[in-house]
């Protein structure tokens, strides 16, 4: 088996054992309260650090990737989204990139056919898998807000949480009602993982940093589904823990001890993800906003962009040259612009 995959699997297994067995050895307070604080703090500081590092790097030229006809002569039709020359165009382009993953949509695969002919085919499943994954993850995340706010606030101000949960349970299957997003999330993450395992080309370029986050998120989704549909943990006790964390008014140790190991495993995986996030490729979540190949207008032929770190050049203009040598020039009979 691939060493990168093996390493990631081993890491998840070790983390899983820690998350499942260690909290119940009397360390509920650490794993249920202290670690989440550390994780949130690391996540936020890490994200700020990474983004500020990017913000400091100079972008001297316009380097948008051009995926269509640029603005040119009036009778040549410009592709205003894929080769934008205005801010509006850039905003539309970024919207499609961030919300619909337009560049993934163009994914192709190369294959050798009939012995020696290479053919390129449109391959849409990466895009479909990515959309399913990101949107189900977002839905799951929003639904979890019900654990972090009090009910009155959820009903009065944050009613979108309830609306999303109702839509998520649209089919009204079973009790507790089946919420589709969780299953879609697990299926999508397993599909994205299977690409990296089964497709030899993709496997060849996959690193541990690719396998690990996928496995970690699969672990989070699986433990979540397990708690809701199979083990059926005590949701009110868990909300006591989560509300205790956000109000800095921690719930009693008896409640923390009454909650099953699966919950602590779920929480431990999430804390791992939060701590890992800023230092990994998962930072593409912020990076997509800052990628200069997408967020710059292709207007190099209309606007002069001056390199911000060009050194100050000391110039000696003809005017000052003449001022310096006027008398000598007149003596020598050379023409001058200004007499004396």
């Amino acid at each position: 088996m691939n060493l990168n995959l093996l390493f990631s699997l081993a890491a998840i297994l070790v983390l899983g054992c820690v998350g499942y067995f260690v909290p119940n050895a009397g360390l509920q307070m650490f794993f249920g309260v202290i670690l989440p604080y550390i994780a949130v703090l690391t996540f936020l500081c890490g994200v700020i650090w990474r983004v500020m590092k990017w913000a400091k790097s100079p972008v001297p030229f316009r380097i948008p990737t051009t995926c269509g006809q640029q603005q040119s002569l009036p009778w040549i039709k410009q592709n205003k989204i894929d080769n934008p020359s205005t801010t509006t165009g850039v905003i539309i382009r970024m919207f499609f990139e961030i919300f619909l993953f337009r560049s993934l949509f163009r994914n192709t695969k190369a294959e050798i056919k009939d012995g020696d002919k290479i053919s390129y085919e449109w391959e849409i499943f990466l895009w479909v898998g990515a959309l399913a994954f990101h949107y189900s993850f977002l839905t799951v995340l929003v639904r979890h807000l019900r654990f972090f706010f009090e009910d009155t606030l959820l009903k009065e101000k944050l009613f979108f949480v309830g609306i999303i949960e109702t839509l998520d349970g649209f089919f009204q299957i079973g009790l507790p009602i089946v919420l589709i997003s969780g299953f879609v999330l697990l299926a999508a993450v397993l599909f994205l993982l299977s690409r990296r395992v089964l497709n030899p080309q993709v496997k060849y370029i996959s690193l541990a940093a690719d396998y690990f986050p996928l496995l970690l998120i699969a672990g989070i989704a699986a433990t979540g589904l397990w708690m809701r549909y199979i083990e059926r943990v005590d949701v009110t006790a868990i909300k006591q823990i989560t509300l205790g964390i956000v109000s800095f008014n921690w719930t009693s140790i008896d409640v923390m001890k009454s909650v099953s190991g699966t919950f602590y495993l779920h929480l431990f995986f999430i804390c791992t993800l939060l701590i890992y996030f800023p230092f990994s490729k998962l930072m593409h979540a912020a990076g997509v906003f800052l990628s200069p190949t997408r967020n710059l207008a292709n207007n190099s032929r209309m606007v002069r962009h001056i390199n911000p770190w060009n050194p100050e050049v000391k110039v000696h203009s003809y005017e000052s040259y003449e001022n310096d040598f006027r008398e000598k020039m007149i003596e020598a009979g050379l023409p001058v612009d200004k007499e004396s």
Binding site: D151, Q172, T236, N249, T251, F289
Partner: protein, 129 residues
């Protein structure tokens, strides 16, 4: 290019959203739990379908079994492990003992922000009278 102002504004919004549960939750004592009231009627009539700790986690599963059994198989009688028999009914059995839906079912559900859709059709006998 100098987009630092925009980037910092974006970061501030992001951090504020991430920390919003902490701002809203600060100083609240909602970690206490819902404290549902077992009514006198329930106490008098005896034990619940399952043990108490089991009930808190499994009651929706039982209701699902009951519903399927009644609606699909027309089986209306449920026998517990210790031989007690119950008429499988949400309004007539559960709410007969737990005749304080507001202080019992609702208190828990409000705390956990779950809104069972059962009451679109089923009634709370107390409220009708």
């Amino acid at each position: 290019m100098n987009d630092k102002i925009k980037i910092i504004a974006g970061l501030i919004i992001f951090v504020a959203i991430c920390l919003s549960p902490f701002f809203m939750g600060l100083g609240s004592d909602s970690n206490k739990g819902p404290d549902p009231v077992i009514s006198e009627t329930a106490k008098k009539k005896g034990k619940c379908i399952l043990e108490k700790t089991e009930m808190a986690k499994q009651h929706m599963v039982i209701l699902d079994q009951w519903r399927n059994s009644v609606v699909r198989d027309a089986q209306r009688v449920y026998t517990t492990k210790d031989g007690k028999r119950f008429d499988m009914s949400l309004s007539n059995t559960c709410l007969d003992c737990h005749d304080n839906k507001k202080e019992f079912c609702d208190r828990c559900h409000d705390y956990a922000s779950v809104t069972p859709y059962c009451w679109d059709c089923h009634i709370n006998p107390k409220e009708v009278k």
